[in-house]
């Protein structure tokens, strides 16, 4: 009884601690929104380059499923280009979930840094050495000459060329991407899983209730715990779960978004 008085205080302390731990969990870096396949937050690309890059990247994604995004940022906010690129990649979730086929070409003109960040799934195709070669032979020379639009376009071309190098491999990736993406009879794959689960649950409960209340025909009278007898009306089956489900609203408003992919820090970086 005496302990009882101290309990709420301890509980309050624990809850406060939990809250305090949860609050500063917000990201320290701020990222530009993923407005399209070309995010020119630093404002170094012209409209024509942006448009042609965007259509090229969209065409590649439609064909192979690989999600390549070109981003420029005004500042790395005090961290290294590797760290910033990795966190930005994960924030945008480039590439499809599970197969992680995203690539981020990040340019930080004011820090004079560039990085190709490669998702887990493409590390075998766009290796560190290949990414380093693209940076040192294509990107850095152009950026050194001050040609940001040309450098970004040529760099993206070089990356796409590598991703298309092995047609068989590219086709395999495309089919893997299609398996994740395509809706089947109007529902996404995980929505079908929900339907399947609900059907299994419904069947289970129907079987259970049928066994309990219908098996011995004479035992329609059920004794309640306090000894009263109640009559179970035959017409009402209580084991009929609602077959509706709350559909997860998927954002398919035509805008561009990451597919849930992640990166473990593959790729290469350079400076000029």
């Amino acid at each position: 009884m005496k302990r009882f008085g101290t309990m709420p205080a301890a509980l309050l302390a624990a809850l406060t601690l939990l809250l305090a731990l949860l609050l500063p969990a917000a990201a320290e870096l701020s990222f530009p929104p993923l407005s399209g396949r070309v995010v020119d937050a630093a404002g170094i690309l012209d409209a024509a380059t942006t448009a042609s890059l965007d259509s090229k990247l969209a065409a590649h994604e439609a064909k192979n499923g690989d999600q390549l995004v070109v981003a420029t940022v005004p500042s790395l906010q005090g961290t290294s280009v590797e760290d910033y690129a990795n966190q930005l990649f994960r924030h945008w979730q480039l590439g499809q979930a599970k197969i992680n086929n995203g690539v981020l070409l990040l340019v930080a003109p004011n820090d004079r840094k560039v990085r190709i960040e490669v998702g887990y799934g493409l590390e075998g195709v766009l290796t560190d050495a290949v990414a380093a070669t693209i940076i040192s032979t294509v990107l850095v020379p152009a950026f050194r000459a001050g040609d940001f639009p040309g450098g970004a376009a040529k760099g993206a071309d070089a990356i796409l060329e590598i991703l298309n190098l092995d047609p068989e491999e590219a086709a395999r990736r495309a089919s893997a991407a299609g398996a994740v993406e395509g809706p089947i009879l109007g529902l996404m794959r995980d929505q079908w899983l929900v339907v399947f689960f609900l059907v299994v649950m419904a069947v289970f409960w129907i079987v259970v209730f049928v066994r309990i209340f219908l098996r011995p025909p004479g035992k329609r009278l059920v004794r309640t715990p306090d000894g009263r007898m109640i009559i179970w009306p035959a017409g009402i089956s209580r084991g009929n779960p609602r077959s509706s489900w709350s559909s997860s609203s998927r954002s398919s408003s035509g805008g561009f978004s990451g597919g849930g992919g992640s990166s473990g820090g593959g790729g290469a970086s350079g400076s000029w």
Binding site: L11, A14, L15, L17, L18, L21, E82, D83, N86, T127, D128, A129, A131, A132, T133, S136, V208, R211, I212, R215, V222, R223, P225, D226, S263, G264, G265, G266, G267, A268, S269
Partner: protein
Amino acid sequence: MRQAVSIPAGTGSATRMVAALLALFMGLALAGCGVNAIPTAEERAKAAWSDVLNQYQRRSELIPNLVETVKGYAAQEKDVLTSVIEARAKATSVKVDASTITDPAAFQQFQQAQSQLSGALGRLIAVSEAYPDLKSNQSFLALQSQIEGTENRIAVARRDYIEAVRVYNTELKTFPGSLWAATLHRGYQPMQNFTIADDQMKPPQVKFN
């Protein structure tokens, strides 16, 4: 509950039903109040740890090739080369198993050996800058980018591990996880986390001489 048990034998199936429902309800209630949170967080932290080990292993495998390549052009840098070989041998000799992450001494040893290797490797890359032939060698460039890429993967894997361990240790120490840690999950130990070595905390000094 006592009333349900006292039901005459004739309604045994209903009793069983009630018991089954109760078991189901208790299962859901237990899951709802976080009995699974500690094992879940532990598995996540263990997965992050194996990724850390994986990346260190990958770096270790790249080193012999790098050493051979550098030797071909800069054999006179004997000190640096042997220090890399020795540090690698030392790092690979550190025994790592499942208990390493909960054992402060073993974890410290692992971390120290790996950071020594990082230092030696950094010096090797730095002295390589003085040899133009080596710097333009294609296989050296490829190896260098692979080493750099692996160092970066190590950094990412370490960051993920640090976060996973933070979540796991917090779950052990805070309510309601602390209740489970004191009762049902008594065997779960807090995990060790990476610390930044003192020499790495100091800002780099610029010397003019």
